[in-house]
């Protein structure tokens, strides 16, 4: 039986971790991820899980310990945000090449400088090219479910890649929602146990992990990683179908909201999609043909499916919560790439919003739709929402 609990996004992820009861968790606190670590530590301290937790001295060691534990054969998890992700970067980048299925919840926070503890996606968007699967969550419920899904996706024999599960700092991590927590037993059966076919603690079958590879093999090893990413697209849907049996929810690559007959849509990630849906509802009531597409799986990016979903619209606004200084914003880049093969490319407009936790309101979204519907578009221009003049 599932139960409804009033939980923050951070607590919701900790609930997923409680239910998965990993062998090892190593994490270092950083606002706004700290409540995940604290909540999980209290589960350990009170015997609610029997996970071994490593209270490390830094994020660099958090990920290093997680890798050591995962290579040793454990199901091992970590969690971080922003500066923490930046500090562990070198190790994070090594994980996909080692093919270790580590799941790491990320509570998205702006990157320094200036130092800022609030939400944007500059931390995770900086990590889109190194081989981690990335799933973005709109709310606490999604963060909870995506964490469960991620464990199975990461450990699937055709994938064996690490996964970051995103939620927005403070907005989700610290906001309380009614979260449906699925039956413990059902989740336990769903996540199962990690069964690595090679691991260090299998001392009768010694193996070498993390060797030096020279130009004769390095490239080939990396190509295999890409094949695993291609597999992840398929496995994501398969695992999602299984999770649906417990949750009753769907796990598409992206959510399409009121898009059937839409003329103008916005593409937006994470919590701001909730605000934007309210704006869509109100505009729909006014008879405006608007809709929304919210990507969930960002790496691997489902280009083909995204093209098919988007090419029928007249105008598309892409709203990014991070910048790619000197280049198109990350989400906008992917949408643009997805549409390149289209016969009838919709008009596109890129918007950047919410850096360092700057709020976005329904009125802002409505203004975007006004521009999209009225054709007030200029693809040459980068637009900013709520930027002080």
């Amino acid at each position: 039986m599932s139960t409804w609990k009033a939980l923050t996004g951070a607590q919701a992820v900790a609930e997923a971790m409680r239910q998965a009861n990993p062998d090892v968790v190593a994490a270092y606190p950083i606002t706004p991820q700290t409540p995940i670590v604290e909540q999980f530590a209290s589960f350990v301290a009170n015997g609610i899980v029997d996970t071994e937790m490593i209270p490390v001295e830094s994020e660099h060691s958090a990920m290093s310990c997680t890798v050591g534990a995962a290579a040793a054969g454990a199901r091992a998890m970590c969690a971080t945000a922003s500066q923490g992700l930046a500090l562990m970067w070198e190790v994070v980048a090594a994980v996909p090449g080692l093919r270790l299925p580590i799941v790491m919840p990320i509570v998205n926070r702006a990157l320094s400088a200036p130092i800022n503890i609030h939400c944007d996606h500059s931390d995770a968007m900086g990590a889109t090219t190194i081989g981690w699967i990335q799933i973005y969550s709109e709310n606490a419920q999604e963060a909870y479910e995506n964490t469960l899904l991620a464990i199975r996706l990461a450990e699937h024999k055709d994938v064996l890649l690490p996964v970051m599960v995103m939620q927005d700092g403070f907005i989700i991590s610290h906001g309380v929602e009614n979260v449906e927590v699925f039956d413990d037993e059902a989740v336990k059966n769903f996540v199962g146990e990690r069964k690595p076919d090679r691991y260090l603690l299998d001392v009768d079958h010694p193996y070498t992990i993390g060797p030096l590879a020279l130009p004769d093999y390095y490239f080939e090893i990396k190509r295999q990683q890409e094949a695993a990413m291609e597999n992840a697209l398929k496995v994501y849907l398969e695992v999602g179908k299984e999770l649906s049996k417990i949750s009753g929810h769907d796990y598409p690559y992206f959510e399409e909201y009121k898009t059937e007959d839409a003329e103008a849509v916005i593409v937006i990630l994470s919590s701001a999609a909730g605000t934007a849906k309210d704006a869509v509802d109100e505009l729909r009531n006014e008879g405006k043909k608007v809709g929304l597409v919210k990507p969930k799986l960002f790496r691997p990016f489902p280009y083909r499916e995204m093209r098919k979903a988007l090419e029928k619209f007249k105008a598309i606004g892409v709203l990014d919560r991070s910048m790619a200084f000197g280049a198109y914003a990350p989400l906008y880049t992917e949408v643009r790439n997805a549409l390149f093969e289209s016969e009838n490319r919709p008009k596109l407009q890129s918007y950047i919003f919410g850096l360092g936790g700057k709020d976005i309101f329904k009125s802002d979204i409505k203004k975007v739709f006004d521009e999209l519907l009225s054709g007030n578009l200029n693809p040459e221009e980068q637009r900013y929402i709520r930027l002080r003049g």
Binding site: D23, G68, L200, A213
Partner: protein, 310 residues
């Protein structure tokens, strides 16, 4: 006490055919430490010569489970393995006893891996950390580390008309390790295989972290005749440049006291990295070095005599 023959007869954890330079001392150190374990061993290895020369894909010289992650985190990786070991043991998924050993170079230990090492020692994981100390970043061609001795010329602090090489003495890594109140920390040297073996055995018998710093002459970057690796290791001990001692539960015991300590020149001569010190104008540098060595030795003797617990 094991004899050298007995140690050599133990199963070999590191196979021959690796790509160490001729005369490199690392192989003997690793082989001896692995032989000292009577349980299966899992190795975590920092980036450096040992990692590079033993694992060029698709080959591996390791006959024991082995992992390399990055340069500065062997102690953290070992922490993760040890924790996984406890977790999987507790859950009945494995049943064998194991020893976990981390190997790092001096760069990966004294310098860039210092924080991860300190964290692991403080948390009290049951593992042995071994630094094979060749006194510099050798894999990358002899750059300075905080283990590089006073007066040595490296590519990043070379000797020159305005430089006699490294102006600082090395960091005292063993005392720093012992100051974490770990049960066992010791020095050892490449030539004294029996002492190294016994220390590794003692280290592995502890119920907590242990630490060994093993002096390892590097033929390529110390620049000496590859036949002389063990000779230089021995001279380092006979000159008190690298004393052999251990902190057993914080208490110092000096394992070897040379009857007639040799002058430091005996160790320095024949090594390219110290060649410049034999110029007349650098005479005071050698004198200063001798003074530092003698003072450090006196300090160790006093500390041992006091019976104080670190």
């Amino acid at each position: 006490m094991a004899t050298l023959q007995e140690i050599m007869a133990k199963p070999v954890g590191l196979a021959s055919g690796h790509r160490m330079c001729a005369g490199c001392g690392i192989g003997a150190i690793v082989r001896t430490v692995l032989a000292a374990s009577d349980k299966p061993v899992i190795v975590a290895n920092a980036t450096g010569c040992l990692e590079v020369v033993t694992t060029i894909y698709p080959y591996s010289a390791w006959k024991v489970p082995w992992i390399h992650l990055t340069f500065e985190n062997a102690a953290a990786v070992a922490s993760g393995i040890e924790t996984a070991y406890r977790a999987l043991r507790k859950r009945g998924k494995i049943d064998k006893d194991v020893n976990i050993i981390a190997f790092g170079g001096d760069g990966g230990t004294y310098d860039i891996g210092f924080q991860a090492l300190s964290g692991a020692l403080e948390r009290g994981h049951r593992f042995l950390y071994v630094v094979y100390d060749n006194e510099g970043y050798m894999n990358t061609g002899n750059q300075r580390s905080s283990a590089t001795p006073f007066g040595a010329s490296t590519t990043t602090v070379p000797a020159g008309t305005k430089s006699f090489g490294k102006p600082q003495w090395r960091k005292n890594i063993v005392e720093i390790a012992a100051a974490h109140r770990i049960p066992y920390a010791a020095t050892a040297a490449n030539h004294n295989i029996i002492d190294l073996y016994n220390k590794a055995k003692k280290a592995l018998s502890q119920d907590g972290p242990s630490f060994l710093a093993v002096l390892q002459p590097c033929t390529t970057n110390w620049k000496y005749d590859p036949a002389l690796t063990m000779t230089y290791s021995k001279l380092a001990v006979e000159t008190n440049f690298w004393p052999l001692y251990e902190f057993d539960h914080g208490k110092l015991h000096i394992n070897y006291k040379p009857k007639n300590r040799k002058p430091i020149e005996e160790f320095l001569k024949g090594q390219g990295r110290f060649r410049h010190l034999f110029k007349p104008e650098n005479r005071p540098i050698i004198e200063k070095m001798q003074k530092m060595i003698d003072e450090e030795w006196e300090r160790l003797l006093k500390l041992e005599e006091s019976g104080a617990v670190l």
